[in-house]
């Protein structure tokens, strides 16, 4: 068994996204992660109704899925 035959997963590049959801209208906004973001942090204002948003998810997606 060759020790270099490790999961090909390691070679995939990922982009990290922050998902914000408006507390008023429920619209979700997906943007690139910024240092300082964390899940359940109050986000910016909603793009549709200008209500306050909440970060509901932060996740990584492979680049080829973008």
């Amino acid at each position: 068994m060759n020790s270099n035959n490790i999961d090909k997963e390691k070679d995939k590049q990922h982009v990290v996204y922050t998902i914000e959801q408006c507390k008023v209208c429920g619209v979700k906004n997906k943007r690139t992660f910024k240092v300082g973001d964390y899940v359940f942090k109050d986000g910016g204002s909603c793009l549709r109704c200008s209500g306050s948003t909440l970060v509901i998810m932060i996740y990584a997606e492979p680049v080829n899925n973008v």
Binding site: M1, S3, K10, V16, V39, K41
Partner: protein, 385 residues
Amino acid sequence: MYMLSISKSDIITNIQMQVNPFFPTGGESQWWIYLLWIIPLFIFMLYGQRIQMFIVMQDVAKSLNKLKGMQDKSKEEVISYIKSINPNITNLERLDALMEYFTITPVNIDPYGIVDKIQHLIRLRDDRIKAEIKALAPQADEITASRLENVVEVATALHMLYKLVRHFYLMGKKSSSMFFIVQLQMIMPLIMQSAEALNKAIPALKNGQPIGDGIGPMIAGRLILDKEKILIAKDTIMSQYEYNNRRLYVVKAKGPGGTVGEPHTALHRLVNEMGVRIDMVIMIDAALKLEGEKTGEVAEGVGAAIGGIGVERFRIEEVATKYNIPLYAVIIKQSILEAITTMRKEIAEAADKASSKVFKIIDEYSNQGDNILIIGVGNTLGVGQ
């Protein structure tokens, strides 16, 4: 129509003519041909194992070099992170000492009371490391310090992994023991997989991004959003509310710093000090998937879903057994790499399914008026509440 008229004997003759020099049919003039076969045969008989060992050693040495590269890179990352927090730092000897810090596990000839001893040593070690981190970066706030602690832990783990592999490699080289080195080669893919995972964890830890292991605290955090929270144990928060005529107690590590909290202490306090009669415990945790299983798959079962050295699981099982509390577990499957690197989309999206499972367990297996404890287990880095 033109027809090929080659007979079977023609083909055999043709082949014989081509390979004839290597398969002499007789004659003293071709004795050297025999030598051409016999010499390599003897070489392989006498030195076959050495040749094989050389090949194996080369393979292990290649992985060892890769491991060294990862170890050096992780240390550089730690230094750059410390300097970004504390630009005035010049003496990094404290970091070197921290990376060599060890814990001697208690003697287990007589295992009675060993869990208390391990817990005592773990708490001591944690406090000591926190103090060292504070000394390295006094300006760091609580969250940054916990991130730095996580990064140092990863760099230390890589350092230890490199030292262990190097030890066995050199031992094999010194003793020229084929079996020694072949055993190392056989486990190298697993070691390299763990090292790769640790190496990839550093950016996520430095940036404060939630990791796959944080799915438990993320689900628990969602349940207690906008609810009043109390600090129930070290780095551990709890909130309670009514649900379908039942009282839910939700516990998770205090985020968004990189900590796992002490859920076992929370259960102990709740039952023994606060006198709450707990009728059911549901633990939500990330679990390692088997090869072939899908990332983000959700499964339910019974037992204490919590990793670590075993102290937490022992304490929870102890209380559950003493008071006959049913222990249910909901797990979200992922690989070791996914557990310690930035949370994957499939894992984050499994939160809804896992929450539904939790409430299904509550609705089906509990009665009205019951007190139910839900514990979100895992590292809460990048996950608030």
